[in-house]
């Protein structure tokens, strides 16, 4: 597919493209979201790393979002070219599983280091971070330490969040508050309402509203500060740790049942969770690795404060209630 986009562009320019000779190597087609496959994302490094160990070629096919990859395979059904999807997360894993499109991974994942032991038979985790509000210590000297402290702040203390219907962290916040407060969630949302400057479609819009000083805090990840420390030498961005505990977003990969390369796909997932694969993740995807990679983890990650408590929700809980929780949130902030 890589070739064919180039070919199409070449046809458009009137160039005569020399068709690339089809290689006889087995091909592993992996659907992912475009930030993952982007030049600064983990995609290129993982491809090079895996191709060095297998006799195969890896091809990334990027949709615009992680939910987009799932929707694409749902539309394609058994005729999909995808062998693997990389980049779903725990909030949609249940729905993905229910499609019946995914096969068991068959890997032993007991050696992973995650906030909670991993027991999923179909999806393999490859990075994680906790949802968290970030603040700038230059402008916010004493960040709130819980949702209730945030609610109690003066109304001109503004936060930006994302629409749960279009952005992963937006859905994450809905689940987080539901996990932390249960039936009291609508009350928490009503309390947050005066502080919510706006609800954006994407994470990037919220985050930039925060960076440009329009809001005091933005919903993001506990690992967001690592980017600023490592890439910009800026240590003023911090994640506020809440005493209720935080929900983690764990990104996962799964093998399609319809794959014609199941063995190769399994090898790839093993590589993805191996030391070599995991080393590539933190400073490209700005998330924690799921394997202890020792000194290979940039010290900036080690300095990040970790929540004392990790909240969890089961697939069944999410499937049964997320619609209702989203509606409650929308009604409360309306």
């Amino acid at each position: 597919m890589v070739k064919s986009t180039r070919l199409a562009l070449a046809v458009l320019t009137g160039l005569i493209a020399s068709p690339a000779f089809a290689q006889d190597l087995p091909k592993l087609t992996i659907y992912t979201y475009d930030g993952f496959a982007a030049e600064w994302g983990p995609g290129p490094g993982l491809k090079a790393g895996f191709e060095a160990t297998c006799v195969c070629t890896v091809e990334w096919v990027a949709a615009d979002s992680s939910i987009g990859t799932l929707r694409r395979v749902q539309l394609e059904g058994a005729s999909t070219e995808a062998d693997i999807i990389v980049g779903l997360d725990t909030a949609i894993a249940g729905e993905a599983r229910a499609t019946g499109l995914f096969a068991d991974h068959g890997l032993d994942l007991s050696g992973l280091s995650l906030p909670e032991p991993w027991t999923d038979g179909q999806f393999v985790p490859f990075d994680y971070a906790h949802f968290a509000f970030v603040y700038d210590s230059d402008t916010v000297a004493t960040p709130p330490k819980s949702f209730e402290e945030l609610i109690a702040l003066p109304e001109d203390f503004k936060i930006v969040v994302q629409d749960p219907r279009s952005a992963t962290p937006g859905l994450g916040l809905v689940l987080w508050i539901a996990a932390a407060y249960g039936d009291r969630a609508p009350e928490i949302w009503a309390g947050l309402k005066p502080h919510i400057l706006t609800v954006t479609r994407e994470w990037s819009e919220s985050y930039n509203l925060f960076l440009t000083g329009e809001a005091d805090m933005a919903l993001s990840y506990s690992t967001s500060p690592a980017y600023h420390i490592i890439s910009e030498g800026d240590d003023t961005i911090h994640a506020a740790i809440f005493s209720e505990g935080h929900l983690a977003q764990t990104e996962v990969a799964g093998i399609l049942r319809s794959s014609d390369q199941p063995e190769l796909a399994k090898q790839f997932l093993a590589y993805l969770t191996s030391m070599d694969g995991q080393k590539l993740i933190p400073s490209t995807n700005w998330m924690f690795p799921v394997t202890d990679i020792g000194d290979a983890l940039d010290p900036a990650f080690a300095t990040l404060p970790q929540p004392a408590k990790t909240l969890t929700l089961t697939d069944e809980d999410i499937a049964a209630n997320s619609q209702r929780w989203i509606d409650q949130m929308l009604a409360a902030v309306q």
């Binding site: 597919m1 890589v2 064919s4 986009t5 180039r6 070919l7 199409a8 562009l9 458009l12 320019t13 475009d34 930030g35 496959a37 982007a38 030049e39 600064w40 994302g41 995609g43 990334w60 096919v61 990027a62 949709a63 615009d64 979002s65 939910i67 987009g68 929707r71 694409r72 749902q74 539309l75 394609e76 503004k158 629409d163 749960p164 219907r165 279009s166 919510i196 400057l197 706006t198 609800v199 954006t200 479609r201 994407e202 990037s204 819009e205 985050y207 930039n208 509203l209 960076l211 440009t212 000083g213 329009e214 600023h228 890439s231 700005w286 619609q323 509606d327 929308l330 902030v333 309306q334």
Partner: protein
């Protein structure tokens, strides 16, 4: 609606009408196919929308109606001022205003915030000078309206200015010798010239505001100010309720069609065409003071946000971006896609507009006017899904089809803007020169080559600039196609924004803006020159 007198003076051009009708049918069929493909792929029943649709429609209509009225008023005032005033850098200012609408909405929104926001230039100046802030006017309904008026008002001004600049010098000379007051001049000479643009502009602006999604969501302050597009997006992406999405999309199309129908059914309004070599005729005293005030306000309101985009971009390290090979690949892709889309848009718009100008029948004019707006009425996420399914149905490889789909989609997106630019002058030519053309016995081609083309050369330039810049635009329509190797500048910008690289995004936004202004200043001049050389 058109009297038989007009019909008699129109040259007989059955081929033009037939070609336009064929194209209109093709566009309508494409939209129908898109919806059909989604329905065919849907499994199971709709889970039913949880959205209060009547409420949403009411809110969105109010917002879009306000946007349209305000944008037209502001646009007319700005066009009036720009038409009268001459100052160094005027072309640049006109180009900057025009570029607002083709700049990705998110860039304009962030530009606005850097002027009007809590931490914006005005607040910081106000705090430094008076120790108090103006608060945060950039969010809520006022924020949405502000952003939309910046985007759409400046566009309206550009289109109206083209009509004002085309008022024949003979009319101006007569007016001047009659000693018309500034007000009389406006009502007797200007208003008739810009009236023809109002239905098309009003419809475009209403539809843009009606369907605008990211800006409304970002500046709206929350779900209270959302549009139907958000609900459709949720149905397609989050709920994967395809049947429900098609129902919602049909609702949106139906509402939009009412607006389109109203705009398309209006009788053509005589307007002027061609460039005038007008004698300088300044308005005196009060009127000129007003023009300077309007221009000044618009510069602060519209141009400053764009200027801040440039300042941010240029100060955040353009060097790092231009050093990347991927930047040049993206630039090449953008130029290629932009040029191809602009040419296709020109062909589509000319076909429709020439056919429309050639007929005197109200119903045919209406039918030929409607498909131009198709793209604005159909939700983007529905189009992208439908195109993906259609490409699969045709057995094409998604990534091979992607660039072609983008070019087609971009052309359809730019089509209403192109029609608003080319439609009024072409109609006017057919109606005012029809008799002459008939008596000379010109063929359709001769009519185009020796009458129409030389007179609309500049408008073609404006249209190409619009379509070109629009089409550098985002690749939302190929969201599912596999986009990793296919990168354009706007996409590169959004990707940078989505992965913490705000500085890179700012630099690309500045580069895009500079390119846009260059296109808007350069292309109309270039085409005016070519068209005149042809004569």
């Amino acid at each position: 609606m058109i009297g038989t007198k007009v019909m008699l003076t129109l040259p007989h051009r059955p081929i033009r009408i037939l070609a336009a009708l064929t194209l209109a049918t093709a566009i309508a069929t494409l939209i129908a196919l898109v919806l059909w493909a989604i329905m065919a792929a849907a499994t199971g029943n709709s889970t039913g929308s949880r959205i209060d649709i009547p409420h949403l429609l009411r809110m969105t209509s109010i917002q879009a109606g306000l946007t349209a009225v305000l944008s037209l008023l502001v646009g007319a005032a700005l066009a009036w001022s720009l038409n009268r005033l001459r100052f160094p850098g005027r072309d640049m200012v006109v180009g900057l205003f025009a570029s607002a609408i083709v700049t990705p909405g998110m860039v304009v929104a962030f530009g606005l915030l850097s002027i009007w926001g809590r931490n914006g230039w005005i607040n910081r100046a106000s705090e430094a000078l008076f120790g108090t802030s103006i608060g945060n006017p950039a969010f809520g309904l006022s924020g949405i309206l502000l952003a939309h008026v910046v985007l759409d008002g400046a566009f309206a001004a550009r289109i109206m200015l083209a009509r004002l600049d085309a008022i024949p010098s003979a009319r101006l000379k007569t007016g001047q010798s009659l000693g018309l007051s500034a007000w009389q001049r406006f009502t007797l000479l200007d208003l008739p010239a810009i009236r023809g643009t109002v239905p098309g502009l009003a419809a475009i602006i209403f539809l843009l505001a009606f369907t605008s999604f990211p800006i409304v969501l970002m500046l709206g302050g929350g779900p209270a100010n959302q549009t139907l597009e958000v609900a459709i997006y949720a149905a397609v992406r989050q709920d994967f309720d395809l049947v429900g999405a098609v129902y919602l999309a049909t609702t949106q199309i139906a509402v939009c069609s009412l607006v389109i129908l109203a705009a398309s059914a209006l009788a053509p309004i005589p307007t002027s065409f061609g460039a005038s070599t007008a004698p300088r005729w300044r308005d005196a005293g009060l009127a000129q003071a007003l023009q300077i005030t309007v221009l000044g306000l618009c510069l602060v309101g519209f141009a400053l946000p764009l200027l801040s985009v440039l300042v941010d971009g240029l100060s955040s390290g353009i060097g790092r971006i231009v050093a990347k090979p991927s930047f040049w690949w993206a630039t090449a892709s953008s130029l290629l896609i932009g040029s191809a889309s602009a040419l296709l848009t020109l062909a589509l718009a000319l076909t429709l507009a020439l056919g429309r100008g050639a007929t005197g029948r109200g119903i045919v004019r209406t039918l030929l006017g409607m498909p131009a707006f198709a793209y604005l009425a159909v939700p983007a996420v529905v189009l992208s899904l439908g195109f993906f399914l259609l490409v699969r149905q045709l057995g094409l490889e998604a990534s091979f089809a992607a660039p072609f789909v983008v070019i087609l989609a971009n052309s359809l997106l730019a089509l209403p803007f192109a029609m608003a630019t080319l439609g009024p002058p072409l109609e006017a030519i057919a109606r005012t020169r029809g008799k002459l053309i008939r008596s000379l016995g010109l063929s359709g081609w001769q009519q185009f080559a020796s009458v129409e083309y030389p007179l609309i050369g500049r408008d073609i330039g404006v249209m190409l600039a619009l379509a070109f810049c629009f089409s550098l635009g985002d690749l939302g329509v190929i969201a599912l196609f596999g986009t990793q190797d296919f990168q354009t500048l706007p996409l590169m910008m959004f990707r940078a924004l989505g992965s913490y690289r705000g500085n890179d995004a700012a630099a690309i936004a500045a580069i895009l803006l500079i390119g846009t202004v260059v296109a808007f200043v350069g292309l109309p001049k270039l085409f005016e020159r070519i068209a005149h050389a042809a004569r």
